[in-house]
């Protein structure tokens, strides 16, 4: 991986579509991010460029998380409680949670995991085991020390476009 960079507080906040300038885009392919996730250290995350697609103009582009500035970093880390809704669909395969462009953890069917959030604006997305088919995706804002709970579910379609 030639483009690999280690950063402390990755964020997608402020990244817009290069064609129309919209911030309503989503990651559609996470090739290489699982290998990168295994190289994370205590403080730093290994980031990789991921393929994203604008939901307004449908333009595909590469997106790389950037280091969050001081106003964006939380004084006290928040917690995300991610719960994968138990379903027969995909029951035997694990899914992965992408938080701010970094694969945080794997999540089994019906499992609940806790993820530390360091930035104010959060981008979360659940991916399937092959890292191409995407499921739940959401952007939200958190306050320092807040605990946010989200139910993640797998979609029965390849892509939501």
């Amino acid at each position: 991986m030639a483009d690999e960079v280690m950063i402390k507080n990755p964020t997608y906040f402020g990244i817009v579509c290069p064609k129309c300038g919209s911030d309503d885009w989503r990651v559609v392919r996470t090739k290489g991010s699982l290998e990168a996730a295994a190289l994370n250290t205590v403080d730093e995350y290994m980031i990789t460029p991921l393929k994203a697609r604008c939901r307004a103009c449908h333009r595909a582009f590469k997106v790389v998380p950037v280091e969050a500035d001081e106003s964006e970093v939380l004084s006290q880390p928040a917690t995300l409680v991610a719960h994968r809704v138990s379903r027969i669909t995909g029951i035997v395969v694990p899914n992965y949670i992408l938080v701010n462009g970094v694969i945080s953890d794997s999540i089994a069917n019906g499992e609940e995991i806790q993820i530390e959030l360091r930035t104010k604006h959060v981008y979360i997305q659940m991916f399937d085991a092959s890292m191409t088919g995407s499921a739940t995706f959401e952007r939200f804002e958190v306050q320092p020390g807040e605990t946010v709970k989200r139910d993640m579910r797998i979609k029965a379609r390849w892509r939501s476009f």
């Binding site: 699982l34 027969i88 995909g90 035997v92 395969v93 953890d105 794997s106 085991a129 092959s130």
Partner: protein, 122 residues
């Protein structure tokens, strides 16, 4: 009623019903496989399998002639499909397990660091 009492047409009807039942079970298993691992590669494995099987049945049943080769190939591909499916599932779970291990190591290191800092502060 024993099999010797059955007429030729009754035997043929019984055989065709059995064939339909087996085909139904096979298709049911494929649908189950498709839903159990309904993501990416495992989904492809669940879809490509029946297409190959259907094609083989089609080419080996031309003119209504069914040979033992059909059943041999059918069972062979059935095993390959299920073997491939199980392999993909194993691979996915292994990757997830490795990631969990790496994450646990990081969390342990964080805990040790915070404990060390607390002791130093004291």
């Amino acid at each position: 009623m024993t099999s010797s009492d059955l007429t030729q047409s009754q035997l043929e009807t019984q055989a065709s019903i059995l064939r339909l039942v087996f085909l139904g079970v096979f298709i049911g298993l494929i649908i189950l496989q498709y839903y159990l691992g309904k993501n990416g590669k495992s989904r492809t494995a669940g879809l490509v399998g029946p297409v190959i099987y259907g094609f083989l049945r089609l080419i080996s049943n031309v003119g209504g002639v069914s040979s033992s080769a059909t059943y041999f190939l059918g069972s062979l591909f059935g095993s390959v499909i299920w073997g491939g499916f199980l392999y993909v599932i194993y691979n996915h779970n292994k990757k997830a397990y490795d990631l969990k291990q790496a994450r646990q190591k990081i969390q342990l290191a964080k805990q040790q660091e915070s404990t060390k800092q607390t002791e130093e502060n004291k």
